[in-house]
């Protein structure tokens, strides 16, 4: 293999990206404009609301009345929360960071005492023993952070026997974040999906590039040189990986500028960028599959949406905001796992070596390399490189 050939073809592809206005727009400007538009104006997330799994760690030292048990029963009766009891806070926090549960509620040691004090003198707050319930929420789920606190607050009010509108009780709810995100907003929850989103459009670019080169005879011209199929494909993968990396950097700069500033270290960013790069391989693969089944560059543009749309809708803005059916369907697209990993890393505070992240990386790596291999084999079979 001659590196001179690989480098020359890679440089050629990079020049195309920079010099062709349509390519430049789709690959670089569109994601930037998209991030800006969403960052500036996105106001809500649709989708049906599934049940939320809440971990409960009870430190309550019940004496006469077991108030924590009353609370747990009341929470379960809401039919919105799926309550899981944990023996210790650390285990519950680990599950929260892996996205297995959407919140962790810590019932304090004086909760039953507080409940009893309220029952003894419901109309005299001066005699109440106040108790604070700590609530940790999944920062990767917009709906969980918005929906779970009011449900718990209402349940706390309800177990005192008061009217739902009355908030005079000895219990207070305190939410805490595992990862500090400045000024959390709707955009913060969507930001991890933006990285994946940008890369997905490589599918269209690769499909168009290959079909155009076929149409105008360039593929034939390259085939009559000593360039080997391996050299050619390496140059393509290399150039689109560079493009994906530049895309990821631009999107990162843009989301940072729009206020997404997770407090994570450089290793987390390194893993995130590597994931996006590996993900871009699957998009090159999907692009090659599209180019194989497309007779012309025009057809390639349309057919590329067969792969773009599922990845876009099922995989980029994953989380509790999607319907349960969409969440299940999302697991068939690689973008789901990339976004899930980035959400866990940036918003849930998951460690790089945690099981959820390792699982996502494994699935993404196997799927993406497999899709790339299928793309190369199919294209090579029907259109010689």
């Amino acid at each position: 293999m001659k590196f001179q050939r690989v480098l020359a073809l890679t440089k050629k592809e990079m020049k195309k990206t920079v010099r062709e206005p349509a390519v430049l727009f789709m690959i670089f400007l569109f994601p930037i404009v998209f991030v800006f538009a969403f960052g500036a104006s996105f106001g809500g997330v649709g989708g049906s609301q599934p049940a939320y799994s809440i971990g409960v760690v009870s430190m309550d030292q019940a004496s006469l009345v077991n108030a924590s048990q009353i609370l747990l029963t009341a929470l379960s009766d809401t039919n919105i929360l799926n309550v899981q009891v944990y023996g210790d806070n650390q285990t519950a926090q680990n599950d929260l960071s892996q996205g297995s549960i959407q919140g962790v509620m810590i019932i304090p040691s004086d909760f039953s005492q507080s409940f009893a004090s309220y029952q003894a003198a419901p109309n005299d707050p001066n005699l109440w023993t106040n108790a604070t319930i700590a609530l940790y929420l999944d920062q990767g789920s917009l709906v969980a952070t918005q929906a779970v606190p009011p449900i718990i607050q209402q349940t706390l009010t309800a177990i005192t026997g008061q009217n739902q509108q009355a908030y005079s009780s000895p219990f207070s709810l305190e939410t805490a974040s595992l990862i500090e995100v400045n000024a959390p907003s709707t955009f913060d929850f969507m930001a991890p999906g933006m990285f994946t989103f940008a890369s997905i459009f490589l599918i269209m670019m690769v499909a168009q590039s290959f079909t155009q080169d076929r149409e105008n005879g360039m593929m034939k011209r390259i085939r009559i040189t000593p360039t080997t199929p391996t050299e050619f494909m390496i140059s393509q993968v290399l150039s689109y990986s560079v493009i994906a990396l530049i895309q990821a950097v631009l999107v990162f700069v843009m989301v940072y500028f729009m206020g997404f500033t997770p407090d994570v270290g450089i290793p987390v960013y390194a893993v995130a960028f590597t994931l996006v790069l590996v993900f871009s391989l699957s998009n090159v693969g999907f692009g090659l599959i599209t180019a194989t089944i497309s007779k012309s560059s025009g057809a390639a543009t349309g057919l590329s949406f067969l792969f773009v749309l599922p990845q876009l809708f099922l995989g980029t803005f994953v989380g509790s905001s999607l319907s349960s059916a969409a969440q299940v369907a999302g697991k068939i697209v690689p973008s789901y796992y990339v976004t899930d990993a980035l959400t866990s890393l940036f918003l849930r505070g998951a460690a790089i070596t945690s099981p959820a992240i390792l699982l996502d990386i494994t699935v993404v790596s196997i799927a993406c390399i497999g899709i790339l291999a299928v793309g190369i084999i199919l294209y090579g079979k029907y259109y010689k490189i």
């Binding site: 195309k16 105008n216 005879g217 034939k220 011209r221 085939r223 009559i224 360039t227």
Partner: protein
């Protein structure tokens, strides 16, 4: 491993389903010879060239280029040949010089040699002044001339020129003829396909006339004209087939 016969084709057949594009062609092209493949559009000229370049597999028969079997050793053949395709295939977003450099790199040329040869070839076809312009702004004739350079940048021993002057204005065509003559003087073996009979008469040492995939005449233009007792190759074709070459599609 060069031998006296630069190209040897024996009983070459290429079928596309029920259409026989090349039908039992046998011919030898000598080293340094400028050989013309003549015939109307669809006669099988380009299919024959594609087989010799390794772009298509023959249905039967054999072909060697520079002593190498095109099916068994296509990599060796590709090192020896330069091909000017019928399609004007150049990258529109690259400049003329960048296109030339890219193909020089694909032939793994030394950088210094590549630069020198690039400049010489651009000068020879009159594109030096436009070398730094993107080719999307080139005229059709300029693109054809650049396409010719891409085929010859690595200084191949054997050149396949498939309709190199098609759709060119008379002046550009004369310029390209001059360029091809210089290549011949350099000792290169050239296979030229064309349906312009005057082009063949002007340039070729020998010609093979193809019709419906068959080689219907072979010899020097003078021999064929003399043998058929006509004035030019156009009339040779009419004499043999009963049709005019540009009507016979």
């Amino acid at each position: 491993m060069m031998i006296e016969s630069a190209i040897t084709v024996e009983n070459l057949v290429k079928k596309f389903e029920d259409v026989t594009a090349v039908d039992g062609i046998s011919v030898q092209v000598k080293k340094g010879e400028l050989f013309g493949l003549l015939g109307p559009n669809g006669a099988g000229k380009t299919t024959a060239i594609n087989i010799l370049c390794g772009l298509a597999k023959p249905t039967s028969g054999t072909a060697t280029v520079g002593g190498y079997d095109v099916q068994k050793e296509p990599e060796k053949v590709k090192e020896l040949i330069g091909v000017c395709l019928q399609e004007t295939a150049i990258y529109p977003y690259l400049t003329g010089a960048e296109n030339v450099e890219l193909f020089g790199d694909l032939y793994a040329m030394n950088k210094e040699t590549l630069k020198k040869r690039r400049d010489v070839l651009l000068e020879n076809v009159g594109l030096t002044g436009d070398a730094k312009r993107r080719t999307e702004k080139y005229s059709g004739g300029m693109k054809r001339r650049l396409s010719l350079i891409l085929a010859l940048i690595h200084n191949p021993q054997i050149a396949f020129l498939d309709e190199p002057t098609v759709a060119m204005d008379p002046k550009s065509r004369r310029d390209v003829w001059g360029f091809i003559k210089r290549l011949k003087k350099e000792g290169k073996t050239i296979i030229l396909t064309t349906h312009y009979m005057e082009e063949a008469e002007e340039l070729c040492d020998r010609v093979g006339i193809i019709d419906h995939g068959k080689l219907i005449a072979l010899g020097s233009p003078e021999e064929l004209i003399s043998k058929n007792k006509v004035k030019n190759l156009e009339e040779v074709f009419i004499n043999i087939t009963g049709r005019k070459i540009r009507e016979a599609v």
